[in-house]
């Protein structure tokens, strides 16, 4: 062993041992794009939570003396077709969008991860059956399936979130199954099986924790897709119902006043773009930080 190698080994011993989560967090913070994305997402979350204190006006209060007013000191983002403050509606709209993003992904994960875990772990006809069902759901384009489900369930934000969550489920089934199939042949799983652990314990205690990192990445990226899907459903009139504010429904109304009040279309769209871009940047950064192949 050379002198430098000995010195390296000594240095490595002296360095404090970091947990994998802390190492991933350090790598994530080093990525500027992910950091900016994370900060913007955090700002939107803060705006959504503290909307009643931040918003300058009540988002549903109409003012017939201020119909379609251009941005000014009184109304920074202007007003809409019935005199409501666009800034207040954009701030409150963040609630619907972020809630739809988070709850839809939670539904998709609650359904998709256990199904993927069973499918990948059990194999055989159970796997075949679950995969055909997943393929069938993947064959129906995400938004079209969500529109169809929202149509049958009835238009509301809750139903839109259910429709988006169920439509996004196959992505998590596929991902979990693939990850489980590669982890279950690892030596530590063999060892857990050899010492007599029951299947349920092997699946949940030994395999599941090892498939979490790619699931976190996918959840972040799917949140971005779910926010666009909610905005799309609301734009079509199948999501958040008036007068409650939502970026998608604001754009639906704004398209009828493009010549008279273009600002009505700019701000909600820009908000969707910013929050989706930030989730995508955060997702890309998380992938680099959590996936050993990307290091």
């Amino acid at each position: 062993m050379s002198a430098s190698a000995v010195a390296d080994a000594a240095g490595a011993e002296a360095a404090p041992i970091q947990s994998p989560a802390r190492r991933a967090l350090r790598r994530l913070i080093r990525r500027k794009g992910a950091l900016v994305g994370g900060i913007v997402v955090l700002l939107f979350v803060v705006a959504a939570i503290f909307a009643p204190w931040i918003a300058p006006y009540d988002p549903t209060a109409t003012d017939w003396a201020a119909v379609r007013k251009a941005p000014s000191a009184a109304h920074l983002f202007g007003t809409d077709e019935i005199g409501r403050d666009v800034l207040a509606r954009v701030i409150y709209g963040a609630r619907a969008s972020l809630m739809a993003g988070v709850i839809s992904v939670a539904i998709a994960m609650c359904l998709g991860v256990p199904i993927g875990l069973i499918s990948g772990y059990v194999d055989g006809w159970v796997d075949g059956l679950l995969m055909r069902l997943t393929d069938a759901m993947l064959a129906c384009p995400f938004l079209i399936l969500a529109i169809a489900m929202a149509a049958f369930l009835g238009p509301s934000l809750t139903n839109a979130m259910i429709a988006i969550g169920v439509s996004a489920t196959p992505i998590f089934v596929r991902l979990t199954r693939g990850q489980v199939q590669s982890v279950k042949v690892e030596d530590f799983v063999e060892a857990a099986r050899a010492v007599g652990n029951p299947h349920r314990r092997i699946a949940f205690r030994h395999i599941l924790p090892n498939v979490v990192p790619p699931l976190i990445v996918q959840a972040t990226l799917t949140t971005a897709a779910a926010i666009i899907a909610e905005a799309s459903l609301s734009f079509l009139g199948l999501g958040q119902q008036p007068p409650a504010p939502s970026w998608g429904s604001m754009l639906n109304v704004a398209k009828n006043f493009l010549t008279q009040a273009p600002w009505m279309a700019v701000w909600p769209g820009l908000s969707i773009f910013l929050v989706v871009l930030s989730f995508n940047l955060l997702g890309d950064g998380l992938r680099d930080a959590l996936d050993p192949k990307h290091r």
Binding site: A136, L138, L143, A150
Partner: protein
């Protein structure tokens, strides 16, 4: 090759069967009595009874599915209760409009995505690469209905160059058809271009580090020839087949794009059907979309095997 084809078709059949279960199952999501829900606002008892008879709602669920799937297999997707026309006729009427929009959008995605991906890979790590990646991220993060509204604001309201909405059949006036479709096609192709750019970039990076590209350079070939003839030709095969898988996104996007630009296609058909509570049309459109998606996936798989001799064994 024949074995491969048979194996792929054998997988598609049960998938289609499950698709039919899901689409038929959608009807069960209707709250309360489906016949009353489908009969519309007036809830005329005669209409309710007619709907009940038409959809065999008095029969057990498996029997109803049997009636429905037997019709579907024979090309009968049901009857639109609002328009009083067979759903299959409506689908055939609207499909060419969406097919034209999708084809133009895919062409735009290729024209933008492929050169950007090649440039990004060839200039890896430079400002060009970062620039192309930013454009791709923009494409992936922009909701297409918002992009559509912004383009209408610029090109129709301010500049007055292109029509804001409407559709002219290409058989009526080709130039007007192009003017009406170019903006929606760009809006729809924008996100796919970003995906194509990312696929092209990663495929090109892989190919550019391969032995045969190194050999081509060692022979003294000029760089444009190395990239164009040796690298891109090989990288484009997986890119085009992967691009074909984006059809689902194209069809989803078409729903919104057609709504923004008031194009009377497949997407507008499903949205109008949703608001008219014309559930047979909703089911028919989802079924045709899913079947088209599976068929195009099959074609993409076959093309991939045809183009790559190593997979034929």
């Amino acid at each position: 090759m024949l074995t491969f084809l048979l194996r792929r078709v054998a997988v598609i059949v049960p998938t289609l069967l499950f698709v039919s279960f899901i689409i038929f199952g959608l009807q069960q999501l209707l709250p309360g009595d489906p016949a009353t829900a489908m009969a519309g606002e007036e809830r005329d008892p005669e209409v309710v009874a007619q709907v009940r008879k038409l959809l065999h709602l008095d029969e057990p669920l498996p029997v109803r599915y049997g009636y429905w799937i037997a019709g579907v297999v024979q090309g009968d997707l049901g009857l639109s209760l609002r328009i009083q026309k067979p759903v299959s006729e409506l689908v055939i009427e609207k499909l060419p409009v969406t097919a034209q929009l999708a084809a133009m959008a895919f062409a735009i995605a290729l024209i933008i995505g492929l050169p950007m991906g090649v440039l990004s890979a060839v200039k890896n790590g430079t400002a060009w690469d970062y620039g192309a990646n930013i454009v791709a991220l923009w494409g992936l993060s922009t909701p297409n209905f918002w992009l559509g509204i912004m383009l209408i604001l610029l090109f129709s309201v301010h500049l007055g160059w292109l029509p804001a909405s409407g559709y002219v059949s290409p058989t009526e006036d080709l130039a007007q058809n192009f003017k009406a479709m170019i903006m929606p096609a760009f809006v729809l192709g924008n996100a796919i271009a970003a995906v194509m750019m990312r696929h092209t970039r990663s495929a090109m990076l892989q190919v550019l580090s391969s032995d045969y590209v190194r050999t081509a350079r060692a022979k003294g070939l000029r760089e444009p020839k190395v990239i164009g003839k040796h690298a891109f030709r090989n990288a484009s095969i997986p890119v085009i087949t992967l691009g074909a898988l984006e059809l689902g996104q194209l069809l989803s996007g078409a729903v919104l794009t057609e709504q923004v630009f008031t194009i009377p296609g497949f997407g507008k058909l499903i949205v109008d059907a949703v608001f008219n509570r014309d559930y047979a049309v909703v089911q028919g459109v989802v079924l045709v979309t899913a079947s088209a998606y599976l068929l195009l996936n099959l074609i993409a798989d076959v093309l991939y095997v045809v183009a790559n001799p190593r997979l034929r064994a």
